[in-house]
Assembly symmetry: C2
Homo-oligomer: 338 residues x 2
């Protein structure tokens, strides 16, 4: 007999780095899946992926693909979301979309379950999953904001290549091999060599000379925290790391907090591991958080350059909490609410 | 006939990464060397290094090693500087020291020739070369400070392994090879794997949970700019890059400056290349500045989170402008003044 809570689920963009991680996450968290169908572009048609030890063929989307589906996890880029998410919604399916397409749409909630679960209540079929670099930051900002009101954030990121996708991971690997063998490197994914280099350039440049990635951190953070008064400036940088984004975050609060108070606040907050004993060389590292669900925070220090400031070092697995896990957690919250 | 301006020069710590670069820099800049002697620890005794196509044996220091020497370039660590710099001074030699030993000594000038050349006038035999991450930042801060008075700096660094020395470059290379060959990595220089990782830990941790490197950026910057009112907070991070330090710098000024005004100010300042056309993918990269003398700055943007703020991305060769070149430039200024 079919348990009522079991859902018909699809993943759109199933063959990408995040899509793959979505399938793994559904399985690992034992999400009540009645049936899983997988979609991707024509290039991937006929591929077979595994879910709960069963083979699932990858299909291409059709107008009727969403009929009878409860939940669609999208990670197929903004252009495909723009076309297909409304199709899915018309079929009565709830879309959790990992692209930037709907994030700043005032009619679409932008949700991190630990931060603003109540925004799920007003969704009209589409729920947006925030950008990876934003998610791990707001998970940490939220409990501090609740206690001390954050006035300003200055953030610099160290983002891994998996945020760009599987091709970028391949490119980092290939360039590294080429350099070790004294061969010339070729650049297809990034404009310049990423191996043994850092690139202060993620996503397109905008009119104001910030990148889209940088402005996502500004605008999405305000929307998720529901507070447009928070002032944010960001510099986002790609580093030759395969998985895990790191962030150097400087915050100014209205109420003074000591470093110990911040440690206590974050230790009691959901989804966070305080990993902060610098004198024992304990601080978060991207190689250690790969595969982890929590957001790790360390290097918690009072900023002596202002009266009420804190420095933080925040690291999370960008494919998990930064993308697939957050999307599945949204789905879990939706089911709870039903 | 001997030109009067030709000097008797020694390099102490000649076999290290910076020492080597000092020898190269003396040669490349055609520094008026009458005679060059090279010193290092006992381990390196008998090694032969090249200067102007001649073989020079590496010697160990003796009490009388500095007799008749005009200029000693030291890059042998704080402990050796503490012992040997006073010995050199007693012999009438001027010491330009790259270690942290004398930098914050009120009796020792801390000099970046483009920034505070006049501090050379009050030296008593020892002149300190600032820390690499500080030098490239103050070269850029100074012309802005002169025009608009800098109130606060929030800096996050991306520092290459050559800042630690040749052994760290070897370790990054070896770890990378090991990982590509599915072998376990070993960590001798850093507490954790640096290949495909980032470490928010440079130099020792202090009582306030900042690292020594972070506090160097705070204290040395104030001393060089001669302004203790500038408030600075730093997060310093090691990245898997061989050469070239990058810095994400956020500044708040007393007088409002537009991004274009900052570009104009920096374009006319000594030792700086403004490399900033983001829409053409023009921004400084560590792989491009390796071997360059200038400090490169790009990603110049107005910070909309405060009324009078600017974001900058500053990159320089940490072994050259960050160490050897700055030391030789100090020596050049000294000669000019004679």
């Amino acid at each position: 007999m079919l348990k009522e809570k079991e859902k018909y689920v699809v993943v759109v963009g199933a063959t990408g780095a995040v899509g793959n991680e979505m399938i793994t996450t559904l399985e690992e968290r034992d999400f009540p899946v009645k049936s899983l169908r997988l979609f991707a572009s024509e290039r991937s048609e006929g591929k077979i992926l595994k879910f709960r030890n069963r083979d699932i063929p990858v299909e291409t989307l059709q107008e009727n693909s969403f009929e009878g589906i409860d939940i669609a996890l999208f990670s197929a880029g903004a252009d495909r979301s723009k076309i297909w998410a409304p199709v899915a919604v018309r079929s009565g399916c709830v879309v959790i979309d990992n692209s930037s397409q709907w994030r700043m749409d005032p009619g679409v909630p932008l949700v991190v379950p630990e931060v603003n679960p109540n925004d799920l209540e007003w969704h009209k079929g589409i729920i947006a999953n925030p950008n990876c670099s934003t998610i791990q930051m707001v998970v940490v900002l939220k409990p501090i904001h609740d206690v001390a009101k954050i006035k300003r954030v200055v953030v610099t990121t160290f983002q891994s290549v998996s945020g760009t996708g599987q091709k970028a991971m391949d490119e980092l690997l290939q360039q590294t091999k080429d350099l070790l063998n004294f061969r010339e490197v070729t650049c297809n994914v990034y404009p310049y060599q990423i191996a043994f280099n850092v690139l202060p350039h993620i996503d397109k440049f905008l009119e104001n000379d910030y990148t889209k990635e940088e402005m996502k951190m500004v605008n999405e953070t305000r929307k998720i925290l529901g507070d447009d008064s928070i002032r944010i400036t960001a510099t986002t940088v790609r580093v030759p790391v395969f998985k895990g984004h790191s962030e150097s975050v400087n915050i100014e609060t209205e109420k003074k907090l000591t470093a110990n108070e911040v440690r206590a606040i974050l230790s009691n907050a959901p989804g966070i591991v305080v990993f902060d004993a610098p004198h024992k060389n304990i601080y978060p590292l991207p190689i250690n958080v790969a595969g982890k669900d929590e957001t790790y925070v360390g290097r918690i220090r009072e900023d002596e350059s202002i009266e009420k400031g804190i420095n933080l070092w925040i690291v999370a697995d960008n494919l998990r909490k930064g993308a697939a896990l957050n999307a599945v957690q949204i789905a879990e919250k939706l089911i709870e609410k039903v």
